[in-house]
Structure formats: C-alpha cells, structure tokens
Amino acid sequence: MEPGAKVVTVMQGELSVSGDPTVVMSCILGSCVATCLYDPSARVGGMNHILLPGRRGEAVAHNKFGVFAMETLINELMHIGARKPKLVAKIFGGASTFDNGLAIGAANAAFVRDFLETESIPIAAESIGGRQARRVRFFPESGHAKQLLTAEAVPAEELRPQKPARDRRPAVPPGGSGEVELF
C-alpha cells in the first residue's frame, strides 16, 4: 500500500465517494459487484458494493434495491462536483464463488451492466465472473483501479460482515426508505 494512503474499506451494502488524491477505496468481492464511478474532469470518484436480493432475469426496472444503490452513488458524486454525463465506470466482481447452482454473481453483474447502459455511462474497464474472489483498490481522484484475484473462493468478509467505520455509509438512509412526508 502506498505510504500515507487513507484506506476506506467499502463493505457490502455501503458506498463511499471522495476527491482526495490520498484516498484508496478497497473491497473484497465474491459474487457481489462493486461499481467504481469517476468524473475525470472533476477528479472525483466513488465506489459501491452490492449484492442484489432479486432473482436472475429480473428487469432493471424491477430491481429497486440495485437502482437505489446506483442512484445514491451518482447523487453523492454530484454533491462533490461530478457531472453525470461525464461519469465513467469500472466494474468488478460477480464471481461464482458458491457452488450451489445459483448464478447470483452473474445476475449481479448483468444488473450493473444493464443499469450503466440504460443511463449511458460507459464502462472503461471490467473484471467480471470467474470463480475466484477479488480484492479491488480504487483511487477515486484519478479513477485508477487495481485488482488482485485471491486464492480463496469465498471472501471471509462476505460471510462475516464487519462493523462499519467512518467515511462510508449504509446505502439505505437512516430515515428508512420509502418514507413519505406530507408538508
């Protein structure tokens, strides 16, 4: 790891955004998918880390959980100066790590690809599928990403979620989702 780097671990269900050149976002992925988005002009970027509850083959428009995770990431990036038409994506994960016949990883990856295509966000790089887990590092200010395929098939973090730390937040706001407030 680079000296002086501030490592932000993005756990399943979380996201993080930053324009700090010393920040490195990190996650370990099995069947989950991480989408890294960055605006090369504004020099800001962010990462989310999702595992969809939906079934394979469900239309993007029906997968509200995934849509919400993506839209929240985009909105957080816009808050720190990104412009949506400038966003570029790098996507990772979606491995078939559990040998249970369910193509969860493939479904996660298909959802993210469909979403990005629908929103006209180009995919600059991707590493999707396979059977190995991945460790991904993303440098939000430059948009650079590095990945390491790990020997273990299932990342321990995917089995035992850890407590969240600062600089990252749950993808669902504390107020609860779907909350309706009439003024």
Binding site: F65, E71, M78, P173, G176, E179, V180
Partner: protein, 121 residues
C-alpha cells in the same frame, strides 16, 4: 376519473420504474427527463400531481417547484419530491419553495400511489 401525473427524473431507469409503478396503480403518466422538459410538458400534460427528482441537469427540482408555483393555473397543483436525499435542509428548502410532500427512494408502489391519492383528495 383517471388522475394525471407528470413525473420528472433525469434517470431513464427511474423513469422506467415510475412508468411501470404508476401505470399499474391506474394513473395516467407523462414523463419528463429534466426540469426544463418537465415545464415544457406542464401545459399539455395538465397534471393533477407533479412528481419531481431533485438532482437534475439544466433545471433541478427546486427550480421546478418554483416555476410551477409561479404559474397561475398551477399555484395549487400538488408537487411531490421523490429523491434519494433525506437531509432536513433540503426538505425545508423544498417546503418553502412550495412542495407538497417528500418521498425518499427507493419508493414503495403502494405508498407512492397512496400519497398521490392523499394530496389530490
């Protein structure tokens, strides 16, 4: 009578979601892809309710609320904000501008339909 809804959101995914949800709930829906497009469609759509996102290019949700309220024939048209945002500051700003309600995404089909019926009752 079928209620007419003008839904403004810059995300195509979100417009697709709203189209499916509101059509299934029995509303007549017109979609617009940003604030300017929404205001352009206001006259022809003649909505009973306007639903708007906040973060949008060209004209954001706050601009939409102010512009709709500035039109004499839409001074009382209910405006629901539908957004991933939930900060009290943004809610308060929307309320001051003339919004009728605030719904946090991801929305629930039934809760959204019920909110539309409540503000148009």
């Amino acid at each position: 009578m079928t209620l007419k809804v003008l839904a403004i959101d810059d995300s195509r995914t979100m417009r697709d979601l709203l189209q499916v949800s509101l059509t299934e709930s029995g509303f007549d829906i017109t979609l617009a892809e940003d604030g300017i497009d929404g205001l352009d469609k206001l006259e022809t759509a003649e909505p009973d309710v306007v639903i708007t996102d906040i973060n949008m290019p060209r004209l954001d949700g706050f601009g939409v609320i102010e512009a709709v309220r500035a039109r004499a024939d839409h001074r009382a048209t209910p405006i629901l904000v539908l957004t991933t945002e939930s900060s009290p500051e943004m809610k308060s700003r929307a309320r001051t501008a003339g919004a009728t309600g605030w719904i946090v995404k991801p929305f629930d089909d039934v809760a959204l339909a019920s909110a539309i019926h409540r503000v148009t009752a």
